[in-house]
Amino acid sequence: MRAPLARVTGVAAPLPLTNVNTDAIIPSVYLRSESSDLARGLFARWRFDETGAERPEFVLNRPPFRRAAILLAGENFGCGSSREAAVWALQRFGIKCVVAPSFADIFYENAFRNGMLAAIADQAELAALIAAVEAAPEDAQVDIDLEKGLIVRGNALRMGFSVPAFRREALMRGDDEIASTLRHAKDIAAHAAADRARRGWLYRAIAPEGKSE
């Protein structure tokens, strides 16, 4: 089981760039070891210069966005590789939810599997929220309610977002997907047995006692 996620309240950082790829989210140097500091690696090339010093202009280096819990992003967020560390790095940094007009397929799946909300928002509404947060960073606190499907900032701004019902429920329950799938172990075994009867060649070809071993 993972911790259920029903509500995210925190600072929302604007990063309205299109096609932010997974190499930008977490550069490959941070994939070399199990013990890499992924929080430091998040957007490392944008956050730090060659000497490792912070680039003061980058959004996550500016108060209050240094403690962002929500990222307001552009179209096709998370394109590129399947590296799940892109999601882990966001989470280690403290981001619990990314709001974007669209996401790349694998990133989208990876987010939910790790209990992160990838919320799809209307482009114009999201642009308005980003403009509001940029205009008044001291008021960057945003509340996201999964049950109601609402993003709220102060009294002035309310907008919806879309998330498939099954994903929302799984997040709110904190489902472990493997445990859920294993509840269908009988169906899987039945499929495997039927397939083995139908396509025996497929299993004989790779059997450990097969010709090539």
Partner: protein, 469 residues
């Protein structure tokens, strides 16, 4: 009247264990290949939950991403990668999974060894914790690239729970011009349709130009489905496919071969099958392609000039384009031909197979790499390396001044020591030109193997057709 099924639908539907709401299907996985950089947390997760590997006999593991490519390497040649290499080795052994380490004759990049071992077969579902698993679509297999949680899911259940993708077809009409490769066709398609065109779709590549391709070229096309935004890409199996697979170690043989072949021949999309998106591109006018920016859709023919961001209507695209030019150290209106290169890299799961090395060697033969250019050839697998050496290609490359290294992902992803220095310009046969992909500050231009070899001997990007004649 019911319509016939597409290739994708036939393969997918045969693997559905159970349907769920939200258009999700639980899909049975026929083959699972592991690589060392995305599986350690998956095994740790299994251990925490006390779950066994459901089907170790359907699983393979190979070292590719983080291995050193030094000629006489050991695992210790890349000390930084030791932890991940040893973890996979130990996990594979503990669970009875075949492991092809750098000492093994079958080692190589996951997407190169899958086809060459016959582990990827038409009509099968193959999963791997790497986005370019779509490569095996060149054989008519459904290659699904997954993240680490899904690797754990496959290990524990031999299934994947997936959103059913929509169907899409790209027809490559006409024939490709001489000197133009499969890489150029797919790059041109990405330039035309964009890097998000295939999102949430499974792409079938069809048309006369695709049918005319050999299997290795089809693997190149399907490899870059990810660069079109799709997770899946495939090509219907035909006689070329069967000829390629016959006799491969994990391909069926004898009476089993006949059974399998009959099934494979029935996989092609029905003539009246309907695709939710149907696109076409004319191949005749396509020139050798080179990317100029930091996404794969920033691509032009080698005879063209770098586009001016000021001509773009959309402000965000204008900003992105200008930022890409800045990063790449280029100006609008510059010719791409004649641009000096510091590094040339031939290899990767896109273009690291024997025919790719042959194409590069044909240009390198009898020529010399320009001084100040570092030119590197990394075969996609140990088997590709042996085959190339048997043909004397290693000598051709060495005599021309190329480095001839050991198989792995190498400079494609730069998580071993093979890195492009900051600010250096590299012509690479890989699939990603993102900022920093080949090392911090590296500038990557994507192109075909022949174009790469041509740039190495010319010291600058050049239309390979001028050298080939």
């Amino acid at each position: 009247m019911t319509r016939g099924s597409t290739l994708f639908e036939k393969v997918w539907n045969a693997h559905v264990v159970k349907r769920f709401d939200g258009d999700r299907d639980l899909i049975f996985v026929d083959r699972h290949i592991l690589q060392e950089t995305t599986c350690a947390p998956a095994f740790a997760g299994l251990e925490r939950a006390g779950r066994p590997v459901a089907h170790p006999e359907l699983t393979l593991a190979t070292q590719d991403h983080i291995v050193s490519t030094e000629p006489d390497r050991t695992e210790a040649s890349n000390p930084e990668g030791l932890e991940l290499m040893r973890l996979m080795r130990a996990n594979a052994q503990a669970h009875g999974i075949r492991h092809y380490g750098i000492e093994d004759t079958r080692q190589g990049i996951v997407h190169v060894i899958g086809p060459e071992l016959g582990a990827a077969l038409p009509g099968t579902v193959l999963a791997c914790g790497d986005s370019h698993t779509s490569t095996v679509g060149g054989l008519g297999a459904l290659g699904i690239g997954v993240g680490t949680s899904e690797v754990e899911h496959v290990l524990a259940t031999q299934t994947l729970l997936l959103q059913r993708p929509k169907t899409m077809r790209i027809r490559f009409e006409g024939g490709k011009a001489p000197g133009v490769s499969a890489k150029d066709l797919i790059l041109a398609a990405i330039g035309r349709f964009g890097i998000a065109a295939g999102r949430s779709h499974a792409i079938e590549y069809a048309g006369p130009a695709i049918r005319a391709l050999g299997i290795e070229e089809r693997l190149t096309v399907c490899n870059m489905s990810i660069e079109l935004g799709a997770r899946l890409g495939l090509i219907a199996p035909d006689d070329t496919t069967l000829a390629y697979l016959a006799g491969r170690p994990f391909a069926p043989s004898g009476a089993d071969w006949e059974l399998a072949a009959a099934e494979w021949r029935a996989l092609a999309s029905a003539a009246d099958a309907v695709f939710e998106r149907d696109l076409a591109i004319d191949c005749a006018p396509i020139a050798p392609q080179v990317t100029w920016g930091t996404t794969q859709e920033d691509v032009i023919g080698v005879d063209q000039r770098i586009p001016d961001p000021a001509t773009l209507a959309d402000p965000e695209r204008r900003r992105r384009s200008a930022a890409a030019l800045r990063y790449m150290g280029l100006a609008p209106g510059d010719a791409i031909e004649g641009l000096r290169v510091d590094v040339v890299f031939v290899g990767s799961c896109t273009n690291g197979r024997l025919s790719d090395l042959e194409a590069a060697a044909a240009i390198a033969r009898g020529r010399k790499v320009k001084a100040d250019v570092r030119a590197v050839v990394v075969p996609g697998s140990a088997s590709v390396k042996r085959a190339a050496e048997a043909k004397g290609l290693d000598r051709v490359f060495r005599e021309a001044g190329f480095e001839w290294r050991s198989p792995g992902c190498s400079m494609c992803v730069s998580i071993n020591q093979d890195v492009v220095p900051p600010g250096a310009r590299c012509l690479a046969t890989t699939n990603r030109n993102f900022e920093g992909r080949q090392g911090p500050g590296s500038r990557t231009h994507l192109a075909s193997p022949a174009m790469a070899a041509a740039a190495a001997v010319n010291g600058a990007i050049v239309d390979v057709r001028k050298l080939a004649s």
